[in-house]
Subunit: 445 residues, 2 copies
């Protein structure tokens, strides 16, 4: 977005013109504009927004900015603002704000709401419960279409949450769903009972968000009801939150596959100490594992002394093996995540990787041989030793890369740990063993 | 899903019972069941489905199964099936089917439809045009709410595409949108003109799907109108297709970051030759780049002959440097993709990585020193050489990993090329230069 005009209005203190501009803008764009505002201007500009728009913009702001506003406004403003927030945004806010703010907000809630808030704050992180909202339309199957539409008007939620209505019993047990469009297309006297779908897809309050996202993808849902252990409807999850979950899970996979422990906030908002903590564990494990390569090399100290040239090819062999293995493991890890590969495909993966590694291995080995023998002018024995090692390293790397993530998955470990860093360390070790094995045959050392 | 019952019914040829079971199932589950059917049973079971359900199930099947059905059914069945498909599914099918099937389908389309199909087939791959559907509700601003609801009933689409209605002029130029819920909440005599939102977010037919997905995420949309260059409404894109785009783009990033060129189909459905082709390019480039490390080692041949022990630590130093660099580059590449980091953050990234690398580098170096000096018993000079190299390699790796993706992005290159494989190769080279630099000072070689 281009905010030149807005910035000029701020600079020239033309606040009533600015207010008019803000009035016509999308809330997401206003939130983006807040990102570039100086912090002392945030509250001033925030107060220019209408009550409803303020709450909507607020829910798009970063935690830092939300906190800044909550701390700066007076108590009355705070209570009004919180009052306007959707229930799920309210919960998100309470999770992030300092204790004194939380206290103020809770003090002003009704007892029913306070109980509900506490219940929601207790759902585990990354569970359905922590994602859901309580703003949904509940109907009874005895209603007719006219009564149902009246109830929708009465509840009057201004979000996408009304596109599906939920039919519940007197004890709030979920009985069925009915789409708003079916209500619109039906005759006013038709009974909900005759229109509702009884075969409803639902999730539990403690289900993991990744599984919920998979359900949305499989059934192309816009929302899903969340029920407790007695199948009583407690909330719904909407697709916009699931889009965020999908991105968040992908980000975590990227991080895990680069040997970084997941963290919650964005990279720039995370402190140096937290970032260091999230990285050092695996680096240490991998560094110590790499000691194995040093031990293998020291075992072949005499061979290396006799033919120093053998050393020159170690980095190239290790890098190529590592890269070949990472390619295979990345493909398989991602396919496991998307559910395209499961344990029963193990044999297919092995044959596929065997085929690929023979083609790739032969091509790389041929080019490598020509280069070492004819361009660099090494002896036939050394050229052959390097070339044969390269071929078998690629073969081993691709098969290990394909198989190990599937085995990790089978053992209920996260297959992402078998990504590039660990595969590289494993392949390096075996590459060196192959190297000296071949060398001892061809060079007689 | 558990398909034991269904499989038993197939085996015992109890087709009328099977039909009843299928009737109560979700289409996505039926499609999953087709996945495990023998191919000779597919057509038989497919014919048990009702006309509407058959079309819905069909759109969930894999390309192979769709092709199998299209080739197996008679012409009349084919035409009926295609007739029932949503327009976007029809286009997807035409893009994948063999020429004789396409010819049959087109021969049966009306001239208007044929023209439309050809127009849609011509939109570039991964553009808005290739994602959109023509099933949407178009209204005129002169209508009132009652007329609008009648039009919705008349068009009677059975998908989520009616939750937003589009207001267009007589020349089909997009003027505004109105949500179905607002129609439901409004009075029958109210004018669309007074209810519609005029400030509409829209995309062009040739916009890239990744940008469209970003717009959905930013504004929390359920659908977006697609307009041509004259701002005439030609179609809409719905969130379910965007969810697929988000997954597809993430998959491509995973692949690119592991030095694999992107490919369209799933891993298991892609042939060994295609998989080999997609991997060999980068492996070759990286293998040849790794030659540089060999050249550096050969320059220090005399040093290596004098102190063979120096060789033992090369793999550990290279691996640790590569891992440290990959961590930084993965974090920054993902942040660039999500728009959380841009070029203006370059300096912040450098200071962050500097901070992290000092903490991580010091910790790794300390542990490494203790191990080499006191557990493995190497001389102080060698222990110090390895430790100092380790520290500076981590420093260099993290800063290169943080900076290079941002520079690649600035140069309009895909930052994903600066992921693990290339960073590792770059870091390896510099790690060796540091190693021998430090060794020549401390060991006097």
């Amino acid at each position: 977005m281009d905010f030149t005009l807005l910035e000029a209005l701020v600079k020239e203190k033309k606040f009533s013109e600015l207010q008019k501009e803000l009035h016509t803008m999308q809330v997401a764009d206003i939130a983006e504009f807040f990102d570039i505002l100086e912090s002392k201007m945030i509250l001033l500009i925030f107060r220019l927004l209408s009550k409803e728009k303020a709450a909507e913009v607020f829910s798009y702001l970063s935690i830092d900015q939300q906190q800044h506003i909550c701390v700066s406004v007076n108590d009355q403003e705070l209570i009004k603002l919180v009052d306007e927030l959707d229930f799920d945004d309210k919960i998100d806010l309470l999770e992030e704000m300092p204790a004194n703010i939380v206290k103020k907000i809770l003090a002003n809630a009704t007892e029913v709401e306070r109980k509900l808030i506490n219940q929601f704050l207790n759902y585990p992180d990354r569970s359905s419960g922590s994602l859901m909202t309580i703003e949904f339309v509940d109907l009874k199957k005895e209603m007719n279409v006219r009564e149902a539409l009246e109830r929708i008007r009465l509840l009057g939620f201004n979000k996408e949450t009304i596109y599906t209505c939920y039919v519940i019993t007197s004890t709030r047990v979920l009985e069925g769903i009915i789409e708003l469009k079916d209500l619109v297309l039906a005759k006013p006297e038709q009974k909900i009972e005759d229109l509702m779908q009884r075969d409803v897809i639902f999730v539990g309050t403690h289900d993991d968000q990744e599984g919920v996202a998979d359900i949305f993808k499989k059934y192309d849902l816009l929302s899903v009801p969340v029920v407790d252990q007695e199948k009583r409807l407690v909330g719904i999850i909407t697709i916009d939150d699931i889009v965020d979950v999908i991105e968040q899970e992908a980000t975590e996979d990227f991080h895990r596959m680069a040997a970084i422990e997941p963290f919650d906030d964005t990279y720039l908002n995370t402190s140096v100490f937290v970032l260091a903590k999230k990285r050092i564990g695996w680096l240490l494990v991998l560094m110590i594992s790499a000691t194995l390569t040093g031990m293998i090399l020291s075992r072949y100290e005499l061979a290396l002394e006799a033919v120093v040239a053998l050393t020159f090819f170690i980095p190239m062999l290790m890098d190529t093996g590592g890269n070949a293995g990472s390619q295979a493991s990345t493909l398989v890890i991602r396919s496991l995540t998307l559910g395209e590969v499961t344990f029963k495909d193990l044999f297919r993966v092995i044959t596929k990787e065997l085929g690929v590694s023979i083609i790739v291995g032969l091509a790389l080995a041929a080019i490598n041989f020509l280069r070492i023998r004819f361009i660099q002018g090494y002896s036939l024995q050394i050229s052959l030793t390097v070339t044969i090692t390269l071929f078998f390293t690629v073969l081993l790397a691709k098969i290990a890369g394909g198989v190990l993530p599937i085995l990790a998955d089978k053992l209920k470990l996260d297959p992402a740990i078998m990504a590039s860093p660990l595969i590289t360390t494993i392949v390096d070790t075996f590459a060196l063993l192959i190297y000296f094995g071949v060398a001892s045959i061809l060079l007689g050392i």
